[in-house]
Symmetry: C2
Subunit: 189 residues, 2 copies
DNA sequence: ACCTTCGTAAACCGATCGGTTTTCTTTTCG
DNA sequence: CGAAAAGAAAACCGATCGGTTTACGAAGGT
């Protein structure tokens, strides 16, 4: 039983917004968004309050895909250390793709420069969730300072995806040893 | 003897471009730039080819201030380890300022999303210079893998300033132990 | 004093911005 | 089938974009 093959205008708009905003930035015009989604501007403004609202909603929807792609399954048999390393393996994997441009949640916040923008707040929450995941695993794994380790891992996550996104580093042979060093220093087996 | 107290239109434009672009993003209009600089659009386009050219030139000029602020003096008596730590102390210091928005060179590259843009290329070079500084100090300090260490430190630099810039972390108690851990792991005394 | 140079202010250009409205076609459902 | 709702296409709105041009005032050197 397949899920609907046909996407609703709403779904097409959300997908187009996520894709084009990621590629071209939040400055992308609504005209281009509508064209890519095959949806009229009229429909857009019936479904969403504004372009900002659409952007926030598209980030919100992508959040689930974001965690599904990066995070390990809820209770696989692996150790917290392995589960943390899994996240960074995924990052390195994604960074290999030619269209990779870094973490979209970080990019949106940097581009908007307005913490009160609805899309910025969604991005802030998503990033907070990732840090919370790291902290939870750190506690589970008996890290000496779970909070510090979670912040360090988040820092590496953002630094790595940002530098890969701007072409400053290709990450090969970089993330794994860095994360391992931090985990070791936190006495996390 | 003081340098000219009066700034030329060129200098005022470069400063306004750096300041306003950092605060509002590269999407800032030329009208606003001219107004802030107290310079007419006519003069702008006599002094610079285009807005993109002005942006690139302003980043170029700020590059020297960037290194002067962050990097230690050429041959102070300190050890490479201390000289590296000095950079991160400066970052943590800057991040405390309320108007801090992260590294402007990273922000410009993320906002432009175009590696061939003249301003992106300036930013790329500046970032490369910082990595080169780290590598040079790492070699001087006898790090086991100077190239790896330099990439790790650049990653921490960008991750830290980005996360501080978007308000995801205030960096207190984070950078120093992280950098120390990486230096230790590289056997750099 | 004169003329040239430099620079500001402001009008102007076509294009595009986010957003609204009108018109016409397609779909849906009783 | 026929009415009603949905949606696409496109004209339209005022504002603003990057960039050009015109017109006029304030210097500067001789």
């Amino acid at each position: 039983m397949a899920t609907e093959v046909k996407q609703s205008p709403r779904e097409r708009l959300l997908e187009a917004a996520a894709t084009l905003t990621y590629r071209d930035g939040v400055g992308i015009g609504v005209e281009a968004l509508c064209k890519a989604a095959g949806v009229s501007k009229r429909s857009l403004y019936q479904l969403f309050e504004s372009k900002d609202d659409l952007l926030a909603a598209s980030l919100e929807q992508r959040a689930s895909a974001f965690v599904v792609t990066l995070l390990p399954a809820a209770n696989d048999g692996r150790s917290p250390r392995e589960r943390i390393l899994h996240v960074f393996e995924q990052v390195e994997l994604q960074a290999g793709a030619p269209e990779f441009r870094g973490c979209q949640y970080l990019a949106v916040q940097i581009e908007l420069k307005d913490q009160s923008h609805p899309a910025s707040q969604v991005a802030h929450r998503v990033k907070g969730n990732l840090t919370a995941f790291f902290r939870s695993e750190a506690e589970q794994g008996g890290a000496s300072d779970p909070d510090l380790l979670a912040r360090q891992l988040s820092l590496v996550f953002d630094g790595a995806s940002a530098r890969a996104g701007i072409g400053a580093d290709n990450l090969t042979g970089l993330i794994a040893p860095t994360v391992a060093t931090l985990l070791d220093a936190a006495d996390m087996p």
